[in-house]
C-alpha cells in the first residue's frame, strides 16, 4: 500500500509537529483527518479472501499505532478521535465478520462471489467511516440545538479558553433571541479566550474578558459555566485546558452548574490514572518567563549543580467527574455517570489497547 503509506506518514508528521493545533477545529480536524486517512487506507487495502475483517482490523490498528505513537503524550486530544474511528470500524467489521462467517464458507468456491463479498465488507466499513465523519461534522449543530433549553433570559455565563462547540452553542441561543452575557476567562498561557471573545463580540453577544485569577471573584455572579474540553474520559472526568479544575472548583463552591459540551470524537475509553502526569503535556516555559529578563536567574545553580529555577507550564488539566454537572453531546444531555455507556456504544472492549497484538 504505497499510497497509503504516504498518507499515513503525512498525518503522522503533522501530528508530531502539532500542526493540527491551530484553528478552531483542533479535535475535529484531527478526527476528520484520521477518519479520512483510514477511509483511504481501507479502500486501498487488498483484502484477501479469508479473514477479511481481521486484515482490515490489523491494517487499521497499525495505522492507529503509528498515529498514537506520533503523539503519545497527548492522548487526550488525539486518541479519542483515533479511538473513535478505529474502534468504530473494527466494530462494524466484526459485525460483518460474524454475519459473513457463515456466508464465506458457502462462497468459498466462488471466487467471483468472494470478491464481491470482500468488496462488500470494505464498502460497509467505508460507509461506517463516512458516517463517523458526518457525525463529527454535524455534532456542533446538534449540540447547539440544545442550548435554548439551558439558556434563558438575562443570564450570565462563564466560559474558559476557546472552543468552537461553545461558540456555536452560544450563538444558537443568541439567534433564538435569548439575552445573556458571557464572561470569558482568557486562559493563559495560550490566551485563546481573547479570540473567543472577539468572535462572540462580532456576533453581537455581550462579552467581558477577565483574567484567570478573577474567576473566583466573578463566579458568584454567574448562572452557568459552559466549557469545551479536550477529552471525556471513561469515568466521566474531563481533560481540558489548564486552569479548568480551578474553574470547576469555584463553580462547585458557588453551586453554579458546570456544563461540558463535547462531540462524539471527544469520548475516550481510557480511565484516567494519575491524569495530571500521564495525561498531560508540558509546554515551553518561555510562554511564562521571558528568557531575556530572567537569563541571569536561569543559570543560577545551587551547590549540587541543580538549577534553582524551574518553570512549570502544563497544557492540560483534569476535572474529576463529581465537579461536572452535565454533559451535552450530540445525542442529548447526560450525567457524568452515564458516560461509560456512551463510550461502550462507540467502542468495543477489545480495541482499547492498540499496542496489544491480539492473536485472534
Amino acid at each position: 500500500m504505497p499510497g497509503t503509506h504516504t498518507l499515513v506518514n503525512e498525518l503522522v508528521t503533522k501530528l508530531k509537529k502539532r500542526l493540527v493545533q491551530r484553528g478552531w477545529r483542533v479535535h475535529r480536524e484531527t478526527a476528520l483527518l484520521t477518519a479520512e486517512l483510514l477511509r483511504s487506507v481501507i479502500s486501498q487495502l487488498k483484502v484477501p479472501a479469508t479473514n477479511q475483517a481481521e486484515t482490515l482490523i490489523d491494517a487499521v490498528k497499525s495505522v492507529g499505532k503509528l498515529l498514537v505513537a506520533a503523539n503519545p503524550v497527548g492522548p487526550p486530544s488525539r486518541s479519542p478521535s483515533l479511538h473513535a474511528i478505529l474502534d468504530r470500524t473494527p466494530d462494524s467489521e466484526r459485525a460483518h465478520h460474524s454475519s459473513r462467517a457463515g456466508d464465506s464458507f458457502e462462497g468459498k468456491g466462488k471466487s467471483a462471489d468472494r470478491n464481491a463479498e470482500s468488496w462488500k465488507l470494505k464498502h460497509d466499513v467505508i460507509r461506517a467511516v463516512n458516517e463517523l465523519i458526518e457525525d463529527i461534522n454535524s455534532c456542533h449543530e446538534q449540540i447547539a440545538e440544545q442550548s435554548v433549553e439551558l439558556i434563558h433570559q438575562n443570564e450570565s455565563l462563564l466560559t474558559f479558553g476557546r472552543s468552537r462547540t461553545v461558540r456555536e452553542f452560544l450563538c444558537a441561543a443568541k439567534e433564538k433571541r435569548r439575552s445573556f452575557r458571557v464572561f470569558v476567562a482568557e486562559g493563559a498561557p495560550k490566551y485563546q479566550g481573547h479570540a473567543l471573545a472577539k468572535d462572540l463580540g462580532a456576533r453581537g453577544i455581550q462579552t467581558t474578558v477577565i483574567t484567570d485569577s478573577a474567576v473566583f471573584a466573578m463566579i458568584s455572579r454567574v448562572n452557568m459555566v459552559v466549557v469545551g474540553v479536550h477529552a471525556v474520559m471513561a469515568n466521566g472526568g474531563v481533560i481540558g485546558p489548564v486552569g479548568l479544575n480551578m474553574v470547576a472548583l469555584a463553580a462547585r463552591k458557588h453551586a453554579v452548574p458546570f456544563v461540558v459540551v463535547a462531540g462524539p470524537h471527544k469520548l475516550c475509553p481510557l480511565y484516567p490514572q494519575n491524569p495530571h502526569v500521564l495525561l498531560n503535556e508540558m509546554r515551553c516555559p518561555s510562554e511564562l518567563l521571558q528568557d531575556g529578563e530572567f537569563s541571569d536567574c536561569m543559570g543560577v545553580c545551587n551547590g549540587s549543580g541543580n538549577p534553582l529555577l524551574n518553570v512549570v507550564n502544563p497544557a492540560f488539566d483534569y476535572v474529576p467527574p463529581e465537579l461536572v454537572s452535565l454533559f451535552i453531546t450530540d445525542i442529548g444531555g447526560y450525567n457524568p455517570s452515564f458516560v461509560h455507556r456512551l463510550i461502550s456504544d462507540h467502542y468495543s472492549a477489545d480495541d482499547l489497547d492498540l499496542q496489544k497484538r491480539t492473536t485472534s
Partner: protein, 610 residues
C-alpha cells in the same frame, strides 16, 4: 526643671540632632556646630537636638534656661509679650506661637514660681488662639490642656505638646518678626551680658517682645525636642530612652547658643554643614535658648539647589520638607497627612536593595526621611505618633510575623506563594537564613505578573524556586505542603481581601488539603465585612488585559477595549472566604480567622490611645 522634664519620654536628644539650634553647640561645646548632619544618630553635644524640625542641624540644647535667668527676664518679658501678642492675631502661626509661647512661658513661670503671670498668659493665649483657624484648633486644645499641665509633672507632656505647637507656630512667626527679634535679642544681649549689642537697644517692649519670642522659642524648643524624641525614636530606631533628654537638657542648659551673636563665623560654619541651613534667629529669648530657632526663609534656596544632591531622599519627601519650610503646609493635620503621603510614595517606590533586609533598610530610610523633615520643621505630635505608628505597626509587626511564621516552616517543605507579598517574602528569606531546606513555588498571574519580582529576589538569595502561572495550581498543588499568602486586609468576618487570584489559590489548596497561612499585620484588620469580591473592589486599567507582554501574537483584542459589546475587566482585589484560610499570622500571634473581629475590637482601641 527636672520635674518638668521627667514625664517626657523622648529619646535622647543626643540622637536627634535636628533642630533649629545652631548656636548651642557653639556655645556649649565651644566648637562649631558640627552636627548639622542628617542623622540624629550622632550624639551631639548637650545641645538639644530633638527640638528643631531640621533634620541634621546640630540642635542647640533644649535647655531650660537657668531659672534665675528666666525668672529675671520673665516678668518683664511676660508682660511685654502679653502686650505683644494680643495685637498680632493675624497670622495663624503667630497666634499659635503666642499661645504656645505664653503657655511655655507659663510653664516655666510656674516652675519658677511665678504663677502670677500665668493666668495672664493663658488669657492672652486663649484670646489669641481663638482667632486661629485650623492650626489654631490644636492650639486651643493645647491651651485647654495647659493649665493642667502646669500644675502637675505629668503636664510636662502637655507642655511639650503646646510647646511643639508653639515651635511650629513659632517658626512661622519668626518669619514675621525676624527683624524685630533680632533687634530685641541684640538689645537683650546688650542688657544681659554687656557683650556687643549689635543693634540699638530697642525699647523695652521690643526687647520684651524679642525676649518673649526667644523665650517662647526656647520653651517650645524644649517640648519639641521631646516630641522629636518621639519621632526620632521612632524613626531613628528605638534605641534612645526617653529619660536621657532630661540630663541632656540639664547639661545643655548652660551652653546657650549665643554663637550667632558672638561669632558670626561660627554661625556660618554651622550653617554650611547643615542640610537644611537655618539661620539662627538673632534674638533668642533666654528662656527658650534650648530651643532651636532659625530665621525663616533662608533655607529654601539652598535646599532647592541641593535637590539633586540628596540621593537618599525620596523626591516626595523632599517636596514635603520644602513645603514645610516655606510654610505652604501648616497645621498639624495637614503636615501629618502630607508626611504620610510622602512616606507612602516613598514606600511604594521602595524596593529592598539586594543586600539588605526589608525591615532594617526600610527603617533606616524612613528614619532618614523623618530626620530630614524634622530639619525642615519640627514634627508635630501627630506626626510623631504617625511615625511611631509606622514603625510599630508595620516594621515591628513584620518582624514579629516573621518570627512566628518561620516556626511553621520545616525542612523538606514545599511552600507555595502567590504574587508578591512583602510579609511572605520576609518570612521566606528569614527561614532561608536560618538554614531551613525548602522549596518555593511562586504562582503568578496576569496582568501584573508580580511574582516575577519575588522570584528574582528569591533566586538571588539562593532559594530553590519553581515558577508557574495560576492556571497550573491544580497541577502543582500535589507537591505543595504549605501555602503562604499575603493580604491587603482581613475583614471582620474572616474574609481575606487581597490580590485577585488569592481566592483561587486558597480554594485549590483547600481542596487538596494543604494548609493556607495568611501573613498580615494587625493594622490591616478592618471591621468591615464582605461576602464576595463584587461589593467592593478596585478596577485597574482594562487595556493591560488586551496586550500580553512579550507575546505579540496574542493580539486578538487590539482596539476592542472601547467597544460596548466587548468589555475588558481588570479586577485588582478579591475576597477569600474564611473557610479556606487555616491560620492568620499577625503581630499578635497566630490566630484563626474567627479571631479577627476580636482583635479589631479589643486591640484597635489601645492603638488609638498610644
Amino acid at each position: 526643671m527636672d520635674s518638668r522634664r521627667a514625664p517626657r519620654t523622648v529619646s535622647d536628644p543626643k540622637v536627634r540632632k535636628v533642630g533649629f539650634f545652631t548656636a548651642p553647640p557653639d556655645r556649649s561645646l565651644s566648637g562649631p556646630p558640627d552636627h548639622r548632619i542628617f542623622s540624629f544618630l550622632t550624639s551631639p553635644p548637650p545641645v538639644v537636638d530633638n527640638s528643631s524640625p531640621s533634620a541634621g542641624n546640630s540642635l542647640s540644647p533644649v535647655m531650660i534656661p537657668p531659672p534665675r535667668h528666666s525668672s529675671a527676664n520673665l516678668s518683664p518679658l511676660r508682660r511685654d509679650s502679653a502686650e505683644y501678642f494680643p495685637p498680632s492675631a493675624s497670622p495663624t502661626s503667630f497666634s499659635d506661637d503666642v499661645a504656645a509661647a505664653a503657655m511655655g512661658r507659663g510653664a516655666v513661670a510656674a516652675s519658677s514660681s511665678l504663677p502670677g503671670g500665668l493666668g495672664f498668659d493663658i488669657a492672652a493665649l486663649k484670646s489669641a488662639a481663638s482667632s486661629v483657624p485650623a492650626s489654631g484648633l490644636t492650639t486651643v486644645s493645647v491651651v485647654n490642656n495647659f493649665p493642667i499641665g502646669i500644675s502637675e509633672k505629668g503636664g510636662g507632656v502637655a507642655v511639650e505638646m503646646q510647646n511643639d505647637q508653639s515651635t511650629r507656630s513659632k517658626s512661622l512667626k519668626e518669619k514675621t518678626t525676624k527683624a524685630e527679634r533680632r533687634a530685641l535679642q541684640e538689645a537683650q544681649r546688650a542688657a544681659k551680658a554687656a557683650a556687643k549689642a549689635e543693634g540699638g537697644t530697642t525699647p523695652a517692649a521690643a526687647s520684651g517682645a524679642a525676649a518673649s519670642v526667644t523665650m517662647k522659642s526656647t520653651k517650645s524648643v524644649k517640648p519639641p525636642p521631646s516630641l522629636k524624641n518621639d519621632s526620632a525614636t521612632v524613626a531613628a530606631s528605638e534605641k534612645k530612652g526617653g529619660d536621657r533628654p532630661t540630663e541632656k537638657d540639664r547639661k545643655k542648659e548652660v551652653p546657650q547658643p549665643r554663637m550667632q551673636y558672638d561669632d558670626k563665623s561660627r554661625v556660618e560654619k554651622a550653617k554650611r554643614r547643615a542640610v537644611v541651613k537655618q539661620t539662627e534667629a538673632r534674638n533668642r529669648v533666654e528662656l527658650f535658648r534650648h530651643l532651636p530657632q532659625y530665621e525663616r526663609g533662608t533655607q529654601l534656596p539652598e535646599l532647592e539647589s541641593k535637590l539633586f544632591e540628596l540621593d537618599p531622599m525620596h523626591p516626595a519627601v523632599y517636596k514635603v520638607g520644602l513645603q514645610y519650610l516655606s510654610g505652604d503646609i501648616c497645621g498639624g493635620n495637614a503636615r501629618c497627612i502630607a508626611m504620610l503621603q510622602a512616606f507612602q510614595e516613598a514606600i511604594k517606590d521602595y524596593s529592598t536593595p539586594p543586600e539588605k533586609t526589608l525591615a532594617r533598610d526600610l527603617t533606616a530610610k524612613i528614619g532618614s526621611y523623618v530626620s530630614f523633615l524634622i530639619e525642615c520643621r519640627p514634627l508635630s505630635i501627630s506626626m510623631g505618633n504617625a511615625i511611631r505608628f509606622i514603625n510599630e505597626k508595620i516594621i515591628l509587626a513584620d518582624k514579629v510575623i516573621v518570627k512566628h511564621a518561620v516556626t511553621k516552616i520545616s525542612d523538606g517543605d514545599v511552600l507555595l506563594t502567590y504574587g508578591s507579598s512583602s510579609a511572605v517574602e520576609m518570612v521566606l528569606l528569614h527561614a532561608h537564613e536560618l538554614g531551613k531546606q525548602f522549596r518555593v513555588v511562586v504562582v503568578d498571574s496576569r496582568p501584573k505578573l508580580e511574582g516575577q519580582l519575588l522570584l528574582r529576589r528569591l533566586v538571588g538569595k539562593g532559594i530553590n524556586c519553581t515558577y508557574t502561572h495560576i492556571n497550573a495550581i491544580s497541577y502543582i498543588m500535589h507537591e505543595v505542603t504549605r501555602v503562604f499568602l499575603g493580604a491587603s486586609s482581613v475583614l471582620s468576618n474572616g474574609t481575606v481581601y487581597s490580590r485577585v487570584g488569592t481566592a483561587c489559590v486558597a480554594m485549590v489548596a483547600h481542596s487538596f488539603h494543604v494548609p493556607v497561612l495568611v501573613c498580615c499585620e494587625a493594622y490591616k484588620f478592618h471591621e468591615r465585612v464582605q461576602l464576595d469580591s463584587i461589593c467592593s473592589n478596585e478596577l485597574g486599567d482594562p487595556d493591560v488585559i488586551s496586550k500580553v507582554r512579550g507575546r505579540e501574537d496574542i493580539n486578538f483584542l487590539d482596539g476592542s477595549s472601547n467597544s460596548a459589546i466587548l468589555q475588558l475587566l481588570n479586577l485588582i482585589y478579591d475576597a477569600t472566604p474564611s473557610d479556606y484560610v487555616s491560620m492568620i499570622i499577625t503581630d499578635y500571634g497566630m490566630v484563626p480567622p474567627t479571631s479577627v473581629p476580636v482583635i479589631v475590637r479589643e486591640y484597635r482601641r489601645e492603638h488609638l490611645w498610644i
